[in-house]
Symmetry: D2
């Protein structure tokens, strides 16, 4: 990952600011011959789009993706795919009063210090709006994966909002799409709705923990030791706005386990090795095991709140800041499709990287001749 | 990060297996004119070296680093620095019985599946021994940082062993070097010693949580949005053997906070902005704030234990495995200098990357003309 | 250089096809605070624009560049700069008859073989139209260089058209902009005009040799040994459509010289070392000497000609092809601004790379203490 | 290519100076399961080794390669392969008198200016001795290619020494290995021997032109537009010491051709497309055509000569320099195996890159359904 590009072979470069004319992603290294048009990508953007319910920012824009290159007669050509999303609802005046002061918890001050200037309109490049481009790129990656590994499925959902966790015994995958929180526990979702209404009214915000699971990941993905699958996923997730922690499998809980408890025992199944548990979260030595890939990320509460917070102006004078405008009481909600998008991009990239070095498929077969 | 290389400008490529003739690191892009010899690097390796007390593997070797290139008359020349550490205590027979079966929790099976063959001697490339090369490279990075940013200090320590956390009210930095656990809490260290003795005797192991703090980091480091400083640190830490989670600042706790609680308020100090708290952990929008950079990583318990665990052979037959040999009851201990090394390498790399794009120092001055 | 991206720190990714809705360049890693708007870049595009005289393709479009991101209030922000050029004159019918056959000398067949499909409209991605995006990116690089190294000047011109070379004794830099061939020799230019008129009428084409000179290049640029300045320039130039050869300084003539003849003797000038000659072309050991950087590239004759040439269809059947449409009798003409653009991008990238590793300026001063 | 690394997937990092303890190459991304030991690589090093006849430097060392990692039981494991060659004949005194002055035509001055210091022993990193590491890496690439594309053959030879070219009508491939000049024309070889004897006695030197041909290259290799196969080859060749020019196919001659002459007509053969000529040199649009890949490089005369040349000292004082020591009257001779090595590395890298994006083999079949 380098500046605004990530990926080794399937390389995504995003560009654009919150309130410029457009933003987008340049996707390079995409396999050719994959069926793709704007309609393939749009549904993923729609899932992330703000303004769909009262829990996300009321900025309203269609986030319609246009494909400017790399596709001919409905198929990818192997050349760069330019995905552009026009910004249509840029109310710059919402942000005008903060052009010369720095919102606590935002990147305002660090961008200014680093670059000597910044685009203050909506946070400029540091806005969560940049993640729309990731989701668009993820839509391309999903189309390729659907072709190369049809069984692979990536699903994200919230497992904690503020201090409230789901009850795993009530986990119901079908519930995820039925509530505005991508919450697999209906009871929790109802409680969260109340909590978030209160937060919204108070002009306050809460954090969240998101879990992303990839099922059907082939064993063998990952390029040890610095492009380990889990290392790349951790970097990819931590690059998402507001993310402050990432864990794989048992994660931080693993610290409290003994080696005896933590060992995922192995037996022989009909289609290959089978694991008795999944503390590893689907990765050993940086390489996928073929088990479910399980990852969680912690999202901090939105920094844009209505409570005044102390800060300084560009001249160094003290100022109390309230961030008006259209904001999310829990950015974790919209981070769910973004985290999914990052995971599909990383998985596809490693699938291609694996076939570069090792060819298609696994080289070592259990019970075989190796 | 790509295969066995990490870094953009200060680039480290490590090579070597646990039981081959040697392992090492090729360090490229190092600034020239920096005072460096083996004696500069060796102390850092000595801190990681196993066999120094009863809590780490009894493998005994000097881990003496040799500089094969890139240094002339005691100064770096700007050309690649080859750091080689010979393996002198390779008791291959210790591992002979597991050449055809796969230890649970190890990379044995995934390496075999991916590559079709593996070096089973001591885990080959997936051995924690690879981290010696990282520590050597970190020694080079420290020498450069001492020259470029003398005030910068990176310190790692354990804050949790198994389920037992330190009491932060007893935190004493001077204590860290006085016990075998890099523990800043003397009371906890004593308790951990007992706990670990018991684990060692039982042939079991425990996990740990490590905190790494960088003080004196200049504001402005980080290359948004995919080479954000925290994203790169997360990837770097997750690439360390046995690490299952990484968090920055408030980390997973941030999920439970409100926006009001989480906001680090800003005021103007004599030397620039001052923050009222550090939930951000020293990074905002992927760029360092100048506050302490605070990061934690979760290390799983050593997978090599004496309790038999179910697994399979290469032929697919069931087998109960005990991992004899010389192992660490808590690999978290030796992960401390490794995590420090990764942090210094990432910080130096971003310091160089910053001066590439923005020149030396900060472009935006508070109270100045920007 | 990787797929559609080149550069280490100043990174350019181009995208787009000849007949899609638009093409462009994503410029990442640009230093912040540089004055830039579309008007800064447009003049460079205008120099490359076709249809300006009878010697270049009659495709007529304004090639107007739009800046979609990375610039705020007329200054670069350090974030990705998206440069978009809409395609407005896409007469796809011109190319319809060649969708199922492969033009000799073009990339039609190799793209089809590699990717399994291709965008046949105007050559798709392999069209020389892609070079407009390079020129736009070069405009950004020029703006940065004007700020960082005002004395640096890059000038390209043709020194040979078909078999006809200029007479160096008539070399007049002021002449370059006065004729349609960027020819510094007025007598040659007149002769070339006749020659090219004949070629155009015959539906034939000719090749060319272009020389690009950079004056005022600071000594010290280049990152040996695989990112040597001359190696990177060679790769950059060879990536331009139709280029078949690159040479630096004495180039292929150097093969015929003796060591005695080829040695550029050194003496001490008032501002540093002075060289008695420049067979090296401004680069020694992959690092700029501070002399003029002199490079030549050979451009093959346009493959699109009116003479029928034997080829095959996608079904494998023989076919005689005439490439109708709007084409250049000598693509070398339009390659001049493209080669300049590649050189400015490479030089800027190496300037930034140098200050990453070594800081601003030269570390070794002659007559100093080193 | 970046600093001391080249390649995308098959990545080679070389390290080491002429007179340090050792030099070598770290080869990463190598496919696993390939038969490899030192004996596989040594023959290629032996071909480059100096001191084998009176036309190359009399430095005598075995250049014995040791494999320190990445190979287990005679097969590559997919982990980094460390290739080390010890320097055994470092007569530093030969060079002592030039530590404070700068040899014309060498990198002495530019290294000093860039880095502020340099290793003067034998030219340090800028010595042609670095190319031994390339040849070792090339030996690994050859072993992989022999497995993946057995029909592929890469052959280099000299076609010009000083001003004397071979007569192509006398071309005899079998002759190449029979004379010390890798010359395919026996008559020319005899003349060159006389010429070079005279040069050697006069303490002078000559340049050369080398041609490298790859036969059996699969169509479809190359990653347009900035990692075009020819662009990457040009960069790779230009990175070799003393190379001043590179051309593909007709090269600089193409400039003098008309489009009609230059077009390589296509017909359908039994195994796919067949070309009537090969002005393209096996590459169209940056992608291999399946024809012979034909490339030439110009090597300047050795700069180390016995004739005194004017230069300056580090203090800026004038000095007349004679470069004593052991040198090659025509470094072009030893550049032949080096150029071959660079070509095999680039070809393998692109083979892996192609299968990453497009899978194994060609996606588009002529006469098929595409």
């Amino acid at each position: 990952m380098s500046f605004n590009t990530f990926g080794h072979v399937f390389r995504v470069t995003t560009w654009g600011e919150s309130h410029g004319p457009a933003l987008g992603a340049t996707v390079d290294g995409c396999p050719p011959g994959i069926a793709l048009d704007a309609g393939t990508i749009q549904p993923w953007l729609d899932r992330r789009r703000p303004g769909q319910n009262r829990y996300t920012t009321q900025r309203r824009e269609p986030d319609a993706v246009e494909i400017l290159s790399g596709v001919y007669e409905g198929r990818t050509t192997g050349t760069p795919i330019q995905l552009m999303i026009r910004n249509t609802d840029q109310r710059s005046k919402d942000y005008g009063d903060i052009a010369d002061s720095f919102r606590p918890g935002h990147a305002d001050l660090t961008y200014f210090q680093k670059y000597g200037l910044r685009d203050p309109r909506g946070g400029g490049r540091s806005s969560a709006r940049e993640t729309a481009a990731r989701v668009a790129a993820g839509g391309v990656a999903r189309a390729v994966l659907a072709d190369l590994v049809p069984a692979l499925q990536v699903t994200g959902y919230m497992v904690q909002m503020g201090p409230h966790r789901i009850d795993r015994s009530r986990f119901d995958g079908a519930e995820i799409a039925r509530n505005p929180f991508w919450c697999p526990d209906q009871v929790a979702a109802d409680a969260w709705a109340e909590e978030l209404d209160a937060m919204r009214k108070a002009g306050n915000s809460v954090g969240a923990v998101i879990e992303v699971v990839a099922q059907g990941v082939p064993a063998g993905l990952g390029a040890p030791v610095y492009a380990k699958l889990d290392a790349e996923l951790a970097g990819a997730m931590m690059s998402i706005n507001a993310v402050k922690g990432v864990e794989i499998g048992a994660g931080f809980e693993a610290a409290a386990l003994t080696g005896e408890q933590n060992a995922d025992e192995i037996s022989m199944g009909t289609d290959g090795p089978v694991y008795g548990s999944n503390h590893a979260g689907g990765v050993l030595g940086g390489i996928s095991t073929g088990q479910d890939l399980v990852l969680r990320l912690a999202v901090k509460p939105t920094s844009s709140i209505l409570t005044p917070r102390a800060s300084i102006t560009r001249a160094g004078a003290p100022v109390d800041l309230i961030t008006k405008g259209r904001h999310d009481p829990c950015v974790g909600i919209r981070a769910v499709p973004v985290a999914e998008a990052m995971m599909v991009c990383v998985l596809l990239d490693h699938l291609l990287l694996h076939r570069a070095q090792c060819g298609a498929g696994l080289l070592g077969q259990i019970g075989g001749t190796g």
